[in-house]
């Protein structure tokens, strides 16, 4: 980004006041690496044949944490959050060597009993032909600036 090249970090502080319903995050782009698929499968202690061979599938949960990339692209600081719920819909498997694009939208924010909840919905598409690969939604409780939940 130009502002980063100029040494200015224009990302927003990661805090409840800066998270709004309808806020769009992304896109981010990357290429899925077979080495990463192997590493992720090893972490799960999985010998599934789906994750092996010349053109392996990525484990379906390997890209769950793309939400973190979307957030880090738009926000800085913050204490993180506690993962409360996750929803995922798999349309097509993601494969090694595939270039993908991820876009997200903050679809829900709520302060309830002192805790700040937000839902980020995000979808992964083939970056070449825009074919939809998966849709996800994560609901988290945002930690406050002191690192607490309330």
């Amino acid at each position: 980004m130009a502002e980063q090249a100029a040494g200015k970090d224009q990302r927003l502080e990661m805090r409840a006041e800066n998270l709004h319903q309808g806020m769009r995050l992304g896109p981010i782009f990357y290429i899925v690496e077979s080495q990463q698929i192997r590493a992720f499968a090893a972490a799960l202690r999985s010998a599934s044949p789906l994750y092996q061979g010349d053109s392996p599938f990525a484990p379906p949960t390997m890209r769950l944490n793309d939400y973190a990339l979307l957030i880090a692209q738009h926000f800085k600081g913050g204490r993180g959050g506690v993962h409360a719920r996750h929803r995922c819909e798999f349309i097509e498997p993601v494969r090694a060597g595939q270039a993908v694009r991820v876009d997200g939208t903050v679809t829900f924010t709520q302060r309830k009993r002192g805790k700040f909840y937000f839902t980020l919905e995000y979808e992964t598409r083939d970056a070449t032909d825009r074919r939809l690969l998966m849709r996800q939604a994560i609901t988290s409780v945002l930690l406050n600036p002191e690192g607490g939940l309330t």
Partner: protein, 142 residues
């Protein structure tokens, strides 16, 4: 476990218990390192003080790690029927601490015309549920 043969409603299956210790967490991190993240590495997953401020007794494992263990059980049972047209919805109901041993469990809850609905839960070594939810996979005929 047979992938080709359809399981009946009420069938239960479970994964091998998984020790989620520091070594497992580091292996999981290696599986996520591309593309690189730029978030703080001091957080409730890595730092005792940060975990305490958030109300946890010790650093907790990433929720996605527990979800990944649960969903691998479904992948092992149903393969592409999960990866192509499947999905899940889960709640992380209790923290998983490093050193916990977790095990994923599943039960075929309902058979619909084009998919199976599966109840999923993950328990720790004390038998407490840490994750609950559902998954869906395409039926074998499709």
């Amino acid at each position: 476990m047979s992938v080709g043969k359809e399981m009946e409603v009420g069938s239960k299956f479970a994964g091998v218990p998984y020790l989620l210790d520091d070594t497992a967490a580091q292996a999981y991190e290696r599986g996520l390192k591309h593309p690189p993240r730029r978030g703080s590495r001091i957080n409730i997953h890595t730092d005792r003080a940060a975990a305490t401020r958030a109300g946890f007794a010790a650093p907790i494992a990433a929720g996605e790690h527990t979800i990944a263990i649960a969903m691998q059980l479904v992948v092992d049972a149903f393969g592409e029927r999960f990866l192509r047209g499947g999905g899940f919805e889960v709640a992380l109901v209790k923290p998983v601490f490093f050193g916990d041993t977790i095990a994923a469990h599943a039960r075929i809850a309902r058979a619909q015309q084009d998919h199976l609905e599966i109840d999923l839960w993950v328990v720790n070594q004390h038998g407490a549920q840490v994750l609950t939810g559902t998954a869906r996979v395409r039926t074998a005929e499709q």
